[in-house]
């Protein structure tokens, strides 16, 4: 019970902080003071209280988009285990539902973007759906591999039953898997090298350009949803990458939070040291990730 409460509370409150951490890290690299850690929260509260501007071309789809997206992501939250604690909701086959919930979210973000009739947002939507379509097989290869490792069909089991032993046992395939997952993580959350969240040239954007026209609370919802998504996928990643578990529940929560923060730092580092890829290179990288995960699967099967 307590775990559930912690789980949900953590999932709802913690995510924006990751963005703050990433920002700080990048600032540090740039030798700037940077915005405070809690800046994302300020932004959100600001947006919630701001008025909205709607383009005449838009319909109810534009307004519904962010909400459905958020709902889908929140549903996903309930399925993912944090730390070594089972997810509040967990049933056989939930990992497929998990994957498809993001599909739903994507669908609505994309049509909301198209609703504005702006060429840029259409462009963004096209890129978003195409790239994540390429990321899809990677995710499933990874899921099968993990499922086979843990002999289970529930996300909780798959992600919590991994132990450091897995690293000793099937180190190579774990390595490939983690690599593939990290790439997917960056791609899905449109971070550098796939997309630059705070560039100002719309032509180069992917995710950001889709939400150009959203404003006020709706925009807040979108930012919040993006943070949640980063958090969830991050959680999946760290559960696979660092399957460390002390028997103690609270300690595990602590470890988890530390892991997440360090992940955020890692992302920040990557964003500071790497440049954004050329648009045409992105598919190649994604396909590469797919191949990695496929190899991982083969190694496990062997």
């Amino acid at each position: 019970m307590t775990d559930t409460v912690i789980h949900i509370a953590l999932a709802l409150i913690f995510p924006p902080l990751l963005l703050g951490v990433i920002g700080k890290t990048k600032a540090a690299f740039a030798g700037r003071a940077g915005a405070p850690y809690l800046q994302p929260y300020y932004d959100l509260f600001k947006l919630i209280r701001k008025g909205s501007v709607f383009s005449e071309t838009t319909t109810w789809v534009f307004r519904a988009g962010p909400l459905v997206t958020l709902a889908a992501i929140m549903a996903a939250i309930l399925l993912v285990p944090f730390g070594r604690h089972d997810a509040p909701v967990s049933f056989s086959g939930d990992l497929i539902l998990f994957a498809y919930l993001f599909g739903l979210a994507r669908f609505f973000t994309a049509i909301a973007a198209l609703d504005t009739g702006s060429s840029f947002e259409g462009m963004g939507a096209a890129r978003e759906v195409t790239f994540s379509c390429l990321a899809e097989p990677t995710l499933f290869f990874a899921l099968i591999t993990l499922a086979r490792m843990t002999k289970s069909l529930t996300l909780s089991a798959v992600l919590t039953q991994l132990t450091p032993a897995a690293w000793l046992g099937a180190g190579a395939s774990m390595l490939l898997l983690v690599g593939a997952l990290f790439i997917t993580l960056l791609a899905e959350n449109s971070r550098i090298p796939f997309d630059d969240p705070n560039t100002h040239l719309e032509l180069t954007m992917v995710h950001e350009v889709m939400v150009l026209d959203h404003s006020g609370p709706a925009f807040g919802v979108i930012l919040y949803g993006a943070a949640l998504k980063l958090f969830i996928l991050g959680a999946v990643f760290v559960n696979v990458a660092l399957p460390i578990s002390t028997g103690n529940a609270l300690a595990d929560w602590g470890i988890f939070i530390i892991e997440m923060v360090s992940l955020a730092v890692a992302i920040g580092v990557v964003e500071s040291v790497m440049a954004r890829l050329r648009l045409l290179r992105i598919p190649q990288l994604l396909v590469g990730a797919t191949i990695l995960s496929a190899f991982a699967m083969l190694l496990v099967l062997r």
Partner: protein, 661 residues
């Protein structure tokens, strides 16, 4: 309900009523009355049929009916089992809705050919009913051919455009060539069985010499009808050019007849060879990815939907392939998941694809064009059709909380369990393939819905379009309702197919229970409801915020550009261009470059971007051309010189003499 009802009898009655539904109009003078009457007959027959089919699935007795006939092909046997029931459900659902839809979409006032169309529509549907009921090769063939031919007339009746005619010809040739394979198939079955009557289930041995030939001919004949790659070449043209409610029937039901045929053929055998399962799996996967890739690149609403039918057929065959492999390797779970997924998807695709085709019909009816890139902003002008179409699009992408997801879920679970348990789970590779297809489906249908309904109109047709009448929207609404209900309450679907899976796959109740526990149907229902509640809650909150806060409205942010025009929007072609290029090897896209004609100032030129239908454009058409040349060489024999003709006679004499000495 009365437990002593005879479903077969009811179904035969329904078939008869449907067959005759169009007839009265041939004599009735009035432009409307006949069509109304036909629709009424169709709807009542459909209700009857649905009732009967439900009774069958509920496990009511399977009596065998024998009609007396004088043909030398054994006995005219009819019966219905749960396998038939699975196919009858969507059949009658679509038949009823389509006939109502046609009242307004193809009304006698606007279309001269309406009489013919109505007549053949009735024949078409009832022929399909008979196909499913037939238990004798000859009866099956006759019904099959009637179905194929009336399909051709539905496709071409009252359509003068050469494109439609070409599509019709390709369709007719394809289906008739397939029928040749079926003639062989049923002859072989007779050789194996001794009579034209269908063999008893699992009575034939796969080791029999003819068995392989039987499977191959079945694959050619039925696979071609189902639109399984690479025999799909007739499909896009046919579905795109038929009247929309006909496309709905063709895609939603007729394709499934091919699936039915293969399932039925397999059922005759005590076991299936390993290669068949694998082959179906591979072909299914190929069709799934290839079909949706083809769809992604289309510029014509109905062509796009047609190609996505190939994808869905592919998904169904992946399920069947899984099941057959499962039967071979003796893993009942795989069998159940495969069959369950296939059956559920058969029903689902029979609901949302007709919904989409009828939607496209409404669009065409409203705008008068089929080109995606000429549309836009229809959501404002078609407030009813637009959400219904959205439901269909979500369902066909297999996204929760709609019914499309349920079938795919079964397939995933099957692949995953295999991936966990079996020593060498090649089958598990189906999962990533399905995932890829799903991703492409999202691209395709975001494009379709987004470009057609959202944004600003790209042409006068689009801006001057009008909403369809209630007679068209009501059937769509019904289908959409089914999508939502089945999506929200997945256990319902599983309950529908369970008996069929059990009887067909020979799976014990225990295994069914087990799979029921493996596949998260109840949790899914919960999750769907939860999500629904969340959306409602957010909606409420958001609306309150909006009321509380100032809301302005302006033009779309053009990134500093102040005079955006509709033509500056991303259009369908540009939306899918990125993906289509990535899938170049599947669809070999062609750039039709603008010709820079003219003097110093080139005149305005058009840039087109089209995908190739490889089989038809790159293989068959050239083949025909070459064979035509070869023939014309032989035709010189008929040169008109009579003395040489006399020489032929003596040559023949001579040859016959030589032949025997």
């Amino acid at each position: 309900m009365d437990l002593t009802i005879e479903p077969a009898a009811l179904l035969l009655t329904a078939a008869a009523v449907l067959a005759l539904s169009g007839a009265p109009w041939l004599v009735l003078k009035g432009p409307v009355s006949g069509q109304r009457l036909a629709a009424f007959c169709a709807v009542s027959a459909s209700l009857l049929g649905l009732f009967a089919a439900a009774a069958v699935l509920a496990g009511s007795p399977q009596t065998v009916y024998q009609l007396g006939w004088t043909l030398p092909f054994g006995h005219a046997l009819f019966s219905v089992d749960q396998l038939s029931g699975i196919f009858l459900l969507p059949l009658f659902l679509v038949a009823g809705t389509a006939s109502v839809y046609s009242l307004s979409y193809w009304s006698a006032r606007e279309h001269a050919g309406a009489r013919k169309l109505t007549l053949f529509l009735g024949l078409f549907v009832s022929a399909m009913v008979v196909v499913v009921l037939a238990r004798n090769g000859a009866v099956f063939l006759m019904a099959w051919e009637v179905m194929a031919l009336s399909g051709y007339f539905l496709l071409t009746a009252g359509q003068k455009s050469s494109e439609a005619q070409r599509a019709g010809t390709v369709y007719l040739i394809a289906t008739h060539t397939g029928t040749m394979a079926l003639l062989a198939l049923f002859s072989l079955l007779r050789v194996a069985n001794g009579t034209f009557d269908f063999p008893a289930p699992h009575s034939l041995s796969p080791m029999a010499p003819a068995a392989t030939a039987i499977f191959v001919t079945a694959l050619i004949g039925f696979g071609g009808k189902a639109g399984l790659m690479p025999l799909h070449f007739w499909l896009p043209g046919a579905h795109a050019n038929a009247p929309s409610h006909v496309s709905a029937l063709m895609s939603g039901v007729m394709l499934k007849m091919g699936v039915y045929g293969i399932l039925r053929t397999v059922m005759f055998f005590s076991a299936v060879p390993a290669w068949l399962g694998w082959l179906l799996l591979v072909l299914g996967a190929w069709s799934a990815v290839g079909g949706i890739a083809l769809a992604a690149g289309q510029r014509d609403v109905k062509r796009l939907l047609a190609c996505s039918s190939i994808e869905n057929i592919g998904i169904i065959f992946v399920g069947i392939g899984l099941a057959l492999v499962g039967m071979r390797t003796g893993s009942p779970v795989l069998v159940t998941c495969g069959l369950g997924g296939a059956f559920i998807h058969i029903i689902n695709h029979g609901i949302f694809k007709p919904l989409l085709f009828m939607g496209s019909g409404a669009i065409i009816h409203g705008t008068g064009t089929r080109e995606i890139d000429r549309m836009g902003g229809l959501a404002r002008r078609m407030p009813v059709t637009s959400p219904l179409f959205l439901v269909g699009s979500l369902a066909i992408c297999g996204l929760p909380p709609l019914n499309g997801f349920v079938g795919e879920l079964f397939l995933y679970i099957g692949a995953f369990t295999e991936g966990i348990t079996s020593p060498l789970p090649v089958v598990a590779l189906a999962a990533p393939v399905l995932a890829l297809a799903g991703g492409l489906a999202v691209i395709t249908f975001v494009k379709l819905y987004g470009i057609v309904f959202l944004g600003v109109p790209r042409s006068d047709e689009a801006s001057s379009c009008h909403e369809a009448g209630p007679l068209m929207t009501a059937p769509m609404a019904l289908l959409a309702l089914f999508c939502i209900v089945f999506g929200m309450a997945p256990p319902l679907l599983f309950r529908l197919v369970t008996p069929a899976v059990g009887s067909y796959g020979g799976v014990s109740g225990g295994v069914l229970e087990h799979v029921g526990s493996l596949v998260p149907l109840v949790p899914l229902m919960a999750a769907n409801l939860a999500m629904f509640a969340l959306v409602l809650a957010f909606g409420a909150v958001y609306l309150r915020r909006l009321r509380a806060l100032p809301v302005a409205s302006g033009s779309t942010w053009g990134c500093g550009y102040l005079k955006p025009t509709p033509r500056m929007q991303y259009n369908g072609t540009s939306f899918s261009e990125l993906a289509v290029n990535l899938l170049g090897m599947l669809v070999s896209p062609r750039r039709l470059k603008p010709a820079m004609a003219g003097a110093a100032l080139p005149r305005d030129a058009a840039f087109r971007y089209a995908v190739t239908e490889t089989v038809l454009d790159r293989m068959l058409t050239p083949l025909f051309r070459v064979s035509g040349m070869g023939f014309s060489f032989i035709r010189k024999l008929q040169h008109g010189q009579m003395h040489i003709y006399v020489l032929y006679i003596f040559a023949t004499l001579f040859v016959l003499m030589i032949w025997t000495h």
